[in-house]
Symmetry: C2
Subunit: 580 residues, 2 copies
């Protein structure tokens, strides 16, 4: 929406909604101290220091008060006042006083509507009545100025649009997104857990989530081996000295954990796998004939993230990258990048993502290496995108300091973008670690490294996949692929035999022989998003069939068991995305 807001009208509208909300809060909680209240994508927020905690239950009252202010159609007016006047005006508003002080100018602008005055540069809509289509959404804690050492304020989020129809559409999308929220589904489907008491941002993969992950990993390894990658394993810790050599200790330290000591030497848990792969590369002298070498690893890394930005599995502190480093000659960059882009597209397609956005990021102001090598590498990346006839945007100057890169964002079922594959050319680490190969001229030349990931991390990709499919994973990924439901006790033996049959073919199947009603069992299997419900009664027992229902409620009726099982096996083996 923000993109369409060329004139800034929508932003003014949202910003005004924020002020109206502040006035409503002021009238309901006269002791309220005010932080800041900007417009954001789709809406607005305001941070308040209040005597007691707010919950979503409090939002209707605030909304109602806002509607009164809107109905009154009060004008927004602005005024420039001196610092002294401002300090008097906001004397009982410590956060505003702090902001005024930090502005460091002689005069400030204030905006007023009704009984509310705010330190604000505007612009705003003309009258409160211009804000029509809005809704308050949620309450969250937010440190004053994002600083964990300052007071925790209460932030109320709202959304606002010009037209009610847009608001409704947006709310519908929010509701759908909420239903698909991987944190919610993660609990409901028993996929994973997080344990604040053992450390926030660290994922525990329960049997069902871990099954999906293992299937992804198995597929990933198979496909990488087929495409000439070598799988490797490296440790999770290394001496600080290694990170000094790599440059991470200087340039990336804020994202790294504090060191631990072993035999009086400092070690740190790895935020990246690259230096480890370099050490392996360097155990032998490599010839131009050995290149490219492609080291792939499902490497678990740990990076510090502020606890405020952690979000389910989508943003965590420990995650498993589907990482690889390609060691190649400069003349191999293009063909290697091309293979990576094709692998990435193949993987995306295999998981049901047909749409994505691609971005080519070029040389930033601060960079290492020569302009020539940058031009050569950037040209190679561009050539690949052109050759493959892919739509892409160029983000000038947004490459990392060590080389240009391609980023791919996946579009999920709700049209939301998720960070996916990344391909980065690197001239920097080979310099720092003196990574070479012996060329045809018999002399050592600098090797080029390509860092790449095609899923990003198992955690984020799994979160994305869960939301994309609303937990109804494709059959080959489904934690439980089929459930056998005997109608009565006399059908249990037959059901159990079929269950064993399927299990011996490594199909993940359950037998639901509880003494519950069939419809209740079917309902439960549907809630658990199990692809196939195989009901067996007298007729099925007699004919060697199963009565098949899909999780979407579709009833496929009686199917010959052997034929059906063969079909399911084919669907699993070929990783089809449809149930039948």
């Amino acid at each position: 929406m923000a993109k369409e807001d060329k004139s800034g009208k929508l932003e003014a509208l949202r910003h005004s909604a924020s002020h109206i909300m502040a006035e409503a809060v002021q009238s309901l909680f006269p002791e309220a101290k005010f932080g800041i209240g900007p417009a954001i994508e789709d809406g607005f927020y305001y941070d308040f220091d209040l005597p007691g905690p707010l919950g979503v239950d409090d939002l209707p009252a605030i909304e109602a008060r806002m509607r009164e202010i809107i109905a009154a159609n009060l004008p927004f007016s602005s005024e420039e006042i001196s610092i002294d006047e401002a300090n008097k005006l906001f004397a009982d508003q410590p956060y505003k006083i702090e902001l005024i002080k930090d502005l460091g100018s002689d005069k400030v602008t204030v905006y007023r509507q009704g009984k509310f005055t705010d330190l604000c540069r505007g612009p705003h809509v003309k009258n409160t009545g211009d804000v029509k289509a809005f809704k308050l959404i949620s309450v969250a804690g937010a440190y004053w100025r994002g600083d964990e050492k300052r007071p925790m304020l209460q932030r109320i989020y709202g959304v606002a649009f010009t037209r009610s129809v847009d608001l409704e559409e947006h709310l519908k999308k929010l509701a759908e997104a909420a239903k698909r929220d991987h944190r919610k589904l993660g609990k409901e489907l028993d996929l994973f857990s997080l344990h604040e008491e053992a450390g926030p941002g660290l994922a525990y993969w329960h049997p069902k989530g871990a099954t999906v992950r293992q299937m992804i990993e198995d597929f990933w390894k198979l496909e990488h081996r087929r495409r000439g990658y070598d799988i490797v394993y490296s440790p999770h810790i290394a001496k600080v000295h290694l990170w000094e050599t790599s440059g991470h200790w200087n340039f990336y330290r804020d994202n790294m954990y504090s060191p631990m000591e072993i035999d009086d030497i400092q070690y740190v848990i790895k935020p990246m796998n690259c230096p480890f792969h370099i050490l392996m590369y360097k155990t032998q002298l490599r010839s131009y004939r050995n290149l490219p070498m492609r080291y792939a690893e499902l490497g678990t890394v740990y990076r510090y993230e502020r606890s405020g930005v952690l979000h389910g599995l989508a943003r965590v502190r420990g995650f498993t990258q589907d990482d690889a480093h390609i060691f190649c000659r400069p003349d191999q960059i293009e063909s290697e990048v091309k293979d990576v882009v094709e692998l990435a597209r193949f993987m995306m397609k295999s998981f049901g993502f047909d749409e994505y956005e691609m971005m080519l990021s070029t040389r930033p102001e601060k960079y290492t290496g020569t302009v020539e090598s940058w031009d050569m590498a950037t040209e190679a990346l561009r050539n690949v995108l052109e050759q493959l006839k892919l739509d892409y945007k160029v983000d000038p100057g947004e490459g990392v300091f060590y080389g240009p890169k391609i980023d791919i964002k996946l579009k999920d079922a709700l049209g939301r973008l998720w960070q996916g594959p990344t391909i980065q050319v690197d001239f920097q680490l080979p310099e720092r670690f003196d990574v070479n190969y012996v060329a045809e001229d018999g002399r050592e030349h600098r090797t080029v490294m390509i860092h790449r990931t095609v899923l990003g991390s198992m955690e984020r990709f799994f979160a994305c996949l869960t939301e994309h499919y609303a937990g109804a994973f494709p059959v080959w990924l489904a934690p439980v692929q089929a459930v056998l439901i005997p109608i009565a006790d006399r059908h249990v033996e037959y059901a159990s035999k079929l269950c064993d049959d399927m299990r011996s073919r490594d199909i993940r199947v359950q037998l639901d022989d509880r003494s519950e009603r069939m419809n209740m069992k079917i309902r439960e299997a549907q809630l658990n998003k199990i692809p196939y419900m195989l009901v067996v009664g007298d007729k099925e027992l007699e004919n060697g069939t199963v009565s098949v229902r899909l999780r979407n409620g579709e009833d496929l009726g009686s199917q010959d068991f052997s034929v059906f099982m063969q079909r399911v096996i084919k669907i699993i083996e070929s990783r089809e995305l449809q149930e039948l």
Copy 2:
């Protein structure tokens, strides 16, 4: 050998050899200061403080001097002397003076032979001539009293036997063991590396070693799923608080790394997976009907080991346990342990280990839980071993404080024992974490945990496997399974086609199209322990055959390619241990 040495004669012989070596060193290096020199399994050692470093090149001279002392057939004599006399006698031997002081008695015994006198309680052989069959083996650094803060002495190791024939047999075995040493083969076959500069005891699995590991892991996961285990993943770090709850922080801290800080809270890298699995178990109320639950994880743990005891992959600081925790009711212990023992035996057999030693360890003096629960669990373990008609020994009082256990040691091709599967019943952690299930009576009862591993760790098991097979891994594990060797350039196209054919079936195959002689290529493939060498020339090209050679040198002659490939696929899929 030690076991057969009932009278202690062999020990006296080896101890005497140590004194003879000390005398030889004294005569060659008059400035030598002496540490200690005991008998050990198969031989003896002595620690010396010498002006310069010793190497294996110095051993023949010392051996020659020892032979002179032996030829002189000098008597060993002992004498009890006062502390004052001892202090005078050893005035220029600071290590002996320290030992005398620490003995804290009025009198000490000394033994003499020829010109050498040592502080020693004996016993010794009668004359130096009694020591006949001996050999000096190696030199290593050893801290005085094993303390890294004390001086580093030089330790010379030797072996000694009563009969020459035993010595020769032992030396032959040592030579064979040296050839199979996984550290040596690890380099030669490019399986893995260790990097002192990034941290000792941390393994880097190169493509070839990692392939073997992945095949082991894939098999392990498949077999565990088939037997009702659930695979899970847990983080590598947790707050210190979790380890306080588990008791590790108090009882196991010497083996744990120092903490790191995140948001002012201390975290530590995990030495064990147990507490993580417990947290997952506890995310829901579990019913007696849910049990047993079996959480399996290839979990990488980090434990502090002194750098002196690190040994290739066999003893490391970071290793991946093939871990599992079974949560069960007390009445399920026996059947669960039985299944684990059977799984362990199946795994051992699958990897070619047919012989092992089993040990049942019972209640120690210090224990937690009740005598009744110990008796019940110990009885369950014993019943399993009896039912399965397995040979086992009882190690009374050697259980861990939290429950009894079964240990299994594998016997490798040279008859050496390796620590393998372990099964431990645990009453302790369920208490500490309040781990319960709701029983049929509707009330909460304490869950029992069984800790178990069937391979031990990927690192140690891989070291064992490498030495067992001398690097010639069974086909299904072999990093490269076949190499295609075209005789001349005109055969490359055909060879390449066959190579693609095999690769498309996921057989790990290489094409050796270098312009080298065929015999040289075969020799190299044999050195690389590649199971199948497929030579193709005119005849093969014409008939659609390959000429097959095995790595042991056996020539199988011409084989129809398709038939041969089918056979190889069957061997791989059924994990046969023989090539054909």
